[in-house]
Subunit: 375 residues, 2 copies
């Protein structure tokens, strides 16, 4: 069984193994039932377009909902990257830690947008290089969980990002974080987010490793590097793959050799959410790299995922295509943090409300297209 | 002066004339000021993509806002069309009146979505053929205004939709409705909506009349007609233009000869909102036909308009292109009612909240990309 291929240590694998074994396929019957309801509503058939698709998706994951979506959480996974020292980002590494503090004091875009969407923000330090803890005293507005796997990954241009054991740990951080939230109360919609200076570089390496696409076809400008930086970044991704030779058939190997702590945690979040039958709104490029790993570990995960938006980061469209996901929004964003994911939340909620609240042709006394009368 | 070209009757023209004379250009200085603020926020420059553009737009229309958007209204303009007798829609004409009643009892998609967005629904009977008044006794959840210009327009395949005087009245219904809402209280964001069986046919005729595009290039399936219906619809639009010969240089002539009461009212709403410096979220194909007329009457109106979504109706993309508008959403919707417009409201609101609430690099103590330190 594929699952056991990467079990180097049975004790460490416990949570991951348990999670993978308990992921079930989505329930397409509930989805079909939702689709039938839309056919009864007093509208031209199919005229709600992708809203019908979103409601149908939600029903496939959760069953026909009994009420509107209320409990939404965005998980912002943070981590640092040794590869930052190669000059692949326009920001210095210290910004990861500074931004985590900004999340905790409520001044970042994700705070504003999550509050607007009515979503809780949970920030997880998966491996920030700096001392994130020092921020807690300032009176945090967002929950912080410290689950450091290391103080930044290794530089993938010279060796692996982390050990295989740490890669398992990163996945488990994602699962664990979700399960802690579930113990705390209801969660009905999960959004992913990331913070990590230089993390488009490992995300690109993951995309290249798993799909075999050429580096030049997908490498992008991240936070805004110039042409020189872009050429350097492409070289770094190529070197990371040459030096580490990640096995495309072994997602844990790809994560360990060319990934990042927060990317692993996002993958884990996707696994955990699938295991608990929760829908996941993926943010942009980094989140989708995490989703690629999660789906490689367990293809059933795919059914639990929605793509919130198409990022302006160059390789994102291909990533989504590989997963067969069509983004809900296309707003030329490339910020990460989970900003695209929480922006799409009201659309998913709206679709569920339509499913729950609309009048049918017969209830509304509206004549049908084919001439059958209303009530 | 162009304005007086269509003033056949000075007394009747009063409200329209007054409105047109008082429409001023948007304030690009405020827009630039908003853009500057975004450059100070602790994010990679431009990474919020079109959210920055939306906030900048809002500031250009309203000045830099002092607080978040609170008062939102969607105006659903309803009217019937004589051309329905040509078999250009898959629904019978009675559905317009039935749907207005559905709006008033709260069971339609626009009710669900407007409530979700926190927007008031104002339904205006601009010229429904049936007795809409009878719905009021049922205890309406949405406001209804009866401003009937006629009981359905004339069949444009045989003659004009309405007189020039009625066309002016239709525009004034839109202006008047907005001004009544303003007397009632604050309005900070206006959305347009429509209901009218067969109204993609006059909307197509308006598009063809104003832009000169070929009928076959833009005619679409509306609520879902088949191939025979589509061919018939194309013939009807061609005949409407041959029979009526609308003057493309005279928007009032186009409205009178090939338009509709609710389309005129939507155009009037765009004029009124511009005159009162209010931003307008356009819904789909019918609303954008109204906007085409409004911009032809007064090009400054264009600055007050946003396109909420790209409709699945075939000619919509071209309409938006002619107006230079880029849709916010693309969800394959084609329902009308204002559904796309209210769906985009949370995105506009989110953009304004970002402008008002985000921390700058220096406030957040975040290092800049170019190495200048934070606080």
């Amino acid at each position: 069984m594929k699952l056991f291929m990467f079990m180097s240590n049975a004790k460490d694998m416990n949570l991951l193994e348990h999670t993978l074994l308990n992921i079930q396929s989505i329930n397409t019957d509930s989805g079909r039932e939702a689709g039938k309801r839309f056919k009864e509503f007093a509208i031209p058939q199919g005229s709600l377009g992708r809203l019908e698709e979103l409601a149908t998706f939600y029903a496939s994951v959760r069953g026909i909902p009994g009420r509107e979506i209320r409990h939404k959480v965005v998980f912002v996974m943070a981590g640092d990257h040794g590869v930052a020292e190669e000059g692949v980002s326009s920001f210095p590494q210290e910004v990861t830690c500074q931004m985590v503090k900004n999340f905790l004091s409520g001044g970042a875009a994700i705070n504003v947008l999550a509050h607007h969407a009515g979503a809780r923000v949970v920030v997880v330090d998966c491996g920030v290089a700096g001392p994130v803890e020092s921020a807690i005293v300032h009176g945090a507005t967002a929950g912080l969980k410290i689950k450091k796997i290391g103080h930044g990954t290794g530089n993938i241009a010279h060796g692996p990002a982390m050990t295989r054991k740490e890669a398992i740990k990163a996945l488990e951080v994602g699962i664990e974080t979700l399960e802690e939230e579930l113990e705390r109360g209801d969660v009905e919609l999960v959004a992913t987010g990331d913070m990590g200076i230089a993390n488009t570089t490992p995300s690109t390496a993951i995309l290249v490793s798993i799909t075999g696409v050429g580096v030049e076809e997908v490498v992008g400008r991240g936070t805004g590097i110039g042409s020189d930086g872009l050429a350097r970044k492409a070289e770094v991704v190529k070197r990371a793959i040459e030096v580490n030779r990640p096995d495309p058939q072994d997602p844990l190997d790809v994560l360990a050799k060319t990934g990042g702590y927060e990317i692993g945690a996002i993958a884990g979040l996707c696994l955990g959410a699938s295991r608990h039958r929760l829908p996941v709104l993926l943010d942009g490029f980094i989140s989708t790299a995490g989703a690629l790993l999660a789906c490689a570990l367990e293809p059933k995960v795919r059914g639990y995922l929605m793509a919130s938006h198409l990022s302006a980061e160059r390789g994102h469209a291909l990533m989504l295509q590989k997963l067969g996901l069509k983004p809900i929004l296309d707003l030329d964003m490339r910020l990460g943090e989970g900003t695209g994911a929480v922006l799409a939340m009201p659309l998913v909620e709206a679709s569920v409300k339509l499913l729950l609240e609309m009048a049918t042709f017969s209830q509304a006394g509206v004549s049908r297209a084919d001439g059958r009368g209303g009530s």
